[in-house]
Subunit: 361 residues, 2 copies
């Protein structure tokens, strides 16, 4: 075995994850101290800490650091780590509001923020009033995470000119994910056979937000321009599509003990996923009638979900989504065969593509 | 009449309001064009436009521009106007989420965003499902307004070093208002006789957010440091307190046709305002029992509200709040007697203090 060179060791993913977590933890500790000094409620920092440290793959921060490295950045300087951490704080905002909009009961195996907050404040309140308080608190705690993701970014220690170069990418990423969520929201409850629309939602809501923009932001920190960012997109967009397609499958077939999420919610909500669109497209009249009755039914139980899963198999929708994931991941891997990418970046990006193809959580 | 000098004409408040609105309108038009080009839903920009242009005093943008001028800024350059506009976009976010948390039916005389969105999407949905969609959309549209307030700021055309100097003030303002909202939320439904706590909520949620920080941000754009900002605070904080105290009165006594808001909501929600805290503090046992029964009752009608208003008068709470407003406004005016302030700034700030004392909307 050869001696590891600097480029390889600098992409030690668990070590990067560790450094991101140190930044997040120290930031929240400082915020908790300030809150105590100003007589502000401690509950905001406490809930954000619980949320951030109950799990999460830290995928966006990792991709940000990999993007930095891919574009020729040396080592992993503190400002890059802090920008990466700001993406995780933004993601906490997105998940807290998403869980509220979907009324998800759990996240990362624990009660979602709106549920946990309501449960902690039931004493002396009616059930409805505690639930309403929980929903309001989740709106606010999500808002705080968004505002603090900005603060992490602003205090990253970037030179002003460097910060000014990254801000447009941050703004674009945020607008894209909001529109993706909006498309998702408008389509939920009334899924159709329109596969192209389901793929467009996934592109906007996940592929760009989760993979492409974090890589772009990291690359921009290292000075990369539009041409290099386009090379990263050739990898990021098919991989991001695959990531969402896998998420769609896990939302129906995943093991809640592993994913930390219900496997009934997407079906109960009537999410317009590629999986469901394909099934509706290929179903015969009788199958379509059954799907239409069951999808979006808030009282759907495991038995009904079992019927949907059989139809997803019978129509070939499940198998097709698996094939789409494999081909998208292969496409992402191919995009890495380019001299512009340093070997270490290529290695970890290839690993992420393979992991995305088969992940179970 | 003397010839108006430049300093006076540059603080023509209606003209500043007009320029802020032109920026907001052009920004949303550009966003609508981009959305159309990217097949994103048009509903987001449409709702934000409706919200922003259905009213609003533009108080925060005005104070930002006045702060710029007070600190010696010349004219009203485009970047200053755009930063001012970003404060109004942030305020749209705050109000949209606030209305959702309070479940307010109307804002600026029109249905609140969550209600309007639900009403527009009832076809083919159950009532509960349309209401849920409306709530989710209001979360998202508010989030978009927050993200776009950032984008307005980032694209204001400030030199990077100048932007870097303003960002910490923006971050502080946002954290403060979030904590203020959080304090408000936790106190709502269980008002007490704790007047100090009610005043602390008002300080955090309104005085700093609405008056102090906009002035500070404008002043920082003109290069002002902490010492000058402290002079502005001497004016801003008492005025901001008065502003919230007036809001508390309007929430109970205001004419909905003028305020655009219900005058039952605060009472039904059981808001912990200074007005209510004073009444609870001074009530005898029988009066307190009646107040405790009526405040926070979601089914409170005009008759019950009338009983509360009588008790607010009998306990002297109403009169005391009026006195507090007058003394706070006088204190704000006195703080203007300082050589550091240019005459034009002093004149408009004095006008705002007098207006705040007697406003009806």
């Amino acid at each position: 075995m050869s001696t590891p060179d600097l480029a390889t060791t600098s992409l030690d993913l668990p070590a990067i994850r560790g450094r991101v977590d140190v930044v997040l933890s120290a930031f929240l500790e400082e915020k908790a101290r300030e809150a105590a000094a100003d007589s502000h409620p401690a509950v905001v920092t406490a809930f954000l800490r619980n949320f951030l440290f109950s799990g999460g793959k830290r995928l966006r921060p990792l991709l940000c650091v990999i993007g930095w490295h891919a574009a020729g950045g040396h080592g992993i300087p503190a400002p890059t780590v802090r920008v990466a951490a700001s993406l995780e704080m933004f993601h906490a905002f997105a998940l807290i509001h998403d869980d509220l909009m979907d009324d998800s009961a759990t996240r990362r195996g624990r009660p979602a923020v709106h549920r946990a907050f309501a449960d902690r404040h039931r004493t002396g309140r009616s059930g409805a009033s505690a639930d309403r308080l929980g929903r309001s608190a989740a709106i606010l705690i999500g808002d705080v995470a968004l505002v603090w993701s900005d603060e992490l970014l602003h205090t990253a220690g970037l030179r002003p000119g460097r910060l000014a170069r990254v801000l447009p990418l941050i703004d674009t990423m945020r607008t894209e994910v909001m529109y993706g969520q909006c498309l998702d929201l408008l389509a939920t409850g009334r899924p159709t056979a329109n596969t192209a629309h389901a793929l467009a939602i996934a592109r906007c809501k996940t592929a760009k937000y989760t993979v492409e923009r974090p890589l772009h932001i990291g690359a921009a920190l290292a000075g990369a321009g539009p041409a290099f960012r386009a090379l990263l997109s050739d990898y990021a967009l098919p991989l991001g599509d695959a990531f969402q397609l896998r998420d769609d499958l896990l939302g129906v077939y995943g093991d809640p003990a592993v994913t930390g999420k219900s496997r009934l919610d997407d079906l109960r909500d009537g999410k317009h996923t590629t999986l469901v669109a394909l099934a509706l497209e290929r179903a015969d009249r009788a199958q379509r009638r059954v799907l239409r009755t069951l999808l979006g039914n808030p009282d759907l139980d495991e038995r009904g979900a079992g019927r949907i899963r059989r139809l997803l198999a019978e129509t070939g929708a499940h198998a097709t989504v698996e094939q789409l994931i494999q081909s998208r991941c292969a496409q992402a891997e191919q995009a890495l065969d380019h001299d512009a990418f340093p070997a270490a970046a290529r290695t970890v990006l290839r690993g992420l593509a393979r992991e995305a193809a088969v992940r179970t959580a």
